[in-house]
């Protein structure tokens, strides 16, 4: 009798241990499910499935229409260009800034002001400040102004609506260089204080110790931040809406324009554009994961 109940208690405890991780994972999993649900509902609409309107037939028409748009190639090209340039600048600048902070052994206050303050500034506000500085009536245009000029309209350049998109790139660089630096600086300080110091003691030059020891160990953190920045700058709305030209529009701006159309069927069209955005981001992520796995395998075989 007692043996039986002891066994029962043991079994119950074992089951509790087995179920514990699932219980712990539940809240985050629930949030992830809502996220996936939202994305899937959207993607299905792109295939013409909108049960609330009685549309249940799978079709590729909206994708075909989206791809056949005269401005589609320009839009996706513009989005890719902005994202590639912004994230490359963020990666290079972020690693450089992390190196600088590590090398000068920056105090906490300096790190806070150069990294945390930009991180907690809203993107739209950075766009506003960039307009204050570089728009036709901005501070730089005032500094360069010809005293004979009568109005801002005659000034040489303006960041707002410029098709080269350098204002948008400037906003992302301002925001994301500190983000990449933030993601790498902790590990970089740690590595450079331990292994980097050891390399220097063994006679490596500062450059050699940085490129052969510190940088490879920080690369995973930096590249992960780079992927996040690339996906974000490709798919976000505010900055491109505030500073972008009327043509070409970025994909998210184009999708939201269609989404707002009073005709609900246009939503399918918007969602097809969103599906393409998702595809590009998924592709970027897949390349990253495969590269990370290949690298890990190579390192495994080397070690």
């Amino acid at each position: 009798m007692r043996a039986a109940s002891a066994e029962e208690g043991l079994r119950r405890r074992r089951r509790a241990v087995r179920l514990a991780p699932y219980a712990l994972a539940l809240p985050a999993a629930a949030l992830a499910v809502v996220f996936a649900y939202g994305v899937v509902v959207g993607v299905l609409q792109g295939f013409g499935i909108m049960p609330s309107l009685g549309m249940n037939a799978f079709t590729l028409d909206y994708y075909a229409q989206a791809l056949a748009r005269p401005d589609f190639t320009a839009s996706i090209g513009y989005s890719l260009y902005l994202s590639a340039v912004s994230s490359a600048i963020a990666l290079a600048g972020g690693v450089l800034l992390a190196w600088a902070l590590t090398t000068m052994r920056a105090r906490t206050a300096v790190r806070m002001a150069s990294l945390q303050v930009p991180i907690l500034t809203m993107h739209a506000l950075v766009a506003l400040a960039v307009a204050f500085l570089f728009s036709g009536s901005g501070l730089v245009s005032r500094l360069l102004a010809d005293p004979a000029a009568q109005s801002a309209a005659q000034s040489a350049f303006s960041v707002v609506g410029d098709p080269s998109g350098w204002g948008i790139v400037a906003v992302y660089a301002w925001k994301e260089i500190p983000y990449v630096a933030f993601c790498t600086v902790t590990i970089m300080m740690h590595v450079s204080g331990t292994l980097g110091e050891a390399a220097a003691m063994s006679g490596a030059s500062p450059a050699r110790s940085f490129f052969s020891v510190t940088l490879p160990l920080c690369a995973p953190a930096a590249v992960q931040a780079f992927v996040v920045v690339a996906a974000f700058s490709f798919g976000s709305y505010e900055v491109a809406y505030l500073l972008g030209p009327t043509y070409p529009k970025t994909l998210p701006v184009l999708a939201y324009m269609e989404f707002q159309d009073p005709d609900l069927v246009n939503r399918c069209y918007a969602m097809a554009l969103n599906g393409i955005t998702t595809g590009v981001c998924a592709l970027t992520a897949a390349v990253y994961f495969i590269a990370a796995r290949v690298q890990r395998r190579q390192e495994g075989s080397r070690g």
Binding site: L31, Q45, A129, R142
Partner: protein, 276 residues
């Protein structure tokens, strides 16, 4: 000798770079602050011709909804960062301290909001939330913000939990502490610095959401970012700048409060550097 010189040169270069970065931050935010007090600033003058508090007066006057939207933003930020942090911390314990089927899928799923843009999620989830009765409600916005903050909270908590391990919890249990006592007197205090970092990150992310709040809240849930955006998008520059300055002051103040709490909690811990 040459080596020492190289080291000195790289340190000088590092100083210059950090100084440039600080200057960029100060100039950008400084221009915004100056505009917020400018009454008349005709082109091509390099300084405003007249100063006033008009921008701030309008933000906080009855016609604009400065105060209520600010309070709403702080409330939504607090709630959503709490949800994301608790979910992220629990998930991190599941990932770091247990072996179970589906762990890889779970980790990938919690990182998804990093990879799929918020605009795609926002437009898709709008219909889903209408069906669930969450569209145009504050709880719906809190849920949406918690979802975009989740990957940040998860990544941070996984780092922290992995560094911490379960040795303190195991010791407490071995010494006879109960489950609840261990949770509140050992686990949560030992993870407190990480939890505070995740909370402040979640708060910042929530406050900065414009597009997601617009779509999920349907314009009915008017947070500070929503109240500010029309001015930023081509309205009155002085008012836009005043909104911006208030946004920065509030988020910086909240951030500083978290930093102070963090310092009090971890000033003597060896791994304080992990959270900076």
């Amino acid at each position: 000798m040459a080596r020492r010189k190289g080291r000195g040169a790289s340190r000088a270069a590092a100083r210059v770079l950090v100084a440039v970065q600080l200057a960029i931050v100060v100039v950008t935010l400084g221009v915004m602050a100056v505009w917020s007090f400018a009454d008349a600033w005709p082109w091509p003058q390099l300084a405003p011709q007249a100063w006033s508090l008009r921008g701030y007066a309008i933000v906080f006057s009855g016609s604009s909804d400065g105060w209520p939207s600010l309070a709403l933003s702080v409330g939504i930020g607090a709630a959503s960062s709490l949800v994301a942090t608790v979910a992220g911390a629990m998930g991190a314990r599941a990932v770091c301290c247990h072996e179970w089927r589906g762990k890889g899928v779970f980790r990938f799923a919690t990182m998804l909001p990093f990879l799929i843009p918020g605009t795609v999620f926002a437009m898709g989830v709008q219909v889903a939330f209408i069906r669930m009765g969450l569209a145009r409600t504050v709880p719906g916005v809190v849920l949406a913000h918690a979802i975009v903050a989740l990957p940040y909270a998860s990544a941070l908590m996984i780092d922290v939990v992995r560094a911490q391990g379960t040795r303190l919890d195991d010791a407490a249990r071995l010494l006879g502490a109960g489950r609840v006592a261990t949770l509140f007197q050992v686990t949560i205090p030992s993870l407190a610095p990480g939890l505070l970092s995740a909370l402040s990150m979640g708060f910042i992310i929530s406050c900065s959401q414009y597009f997601l709040t617009l779509l999920v809240g349907g314009g009915k849930v008017r947070t500070f970012a929503l109240a500010m955006f029309p001015y930023v998008a081509g309205g009155d520059r002085t008012i836009a700048a005043a909104y911006g300055v208030i946004f920065m002051v509030v988020t910086l103040a909240v951030f500083c409060v978290f930093r102070l709490l963090l310092r009090r909690l971890s000033w003597n811990a060896d791994d304080a550097v992990l959270y900076e």
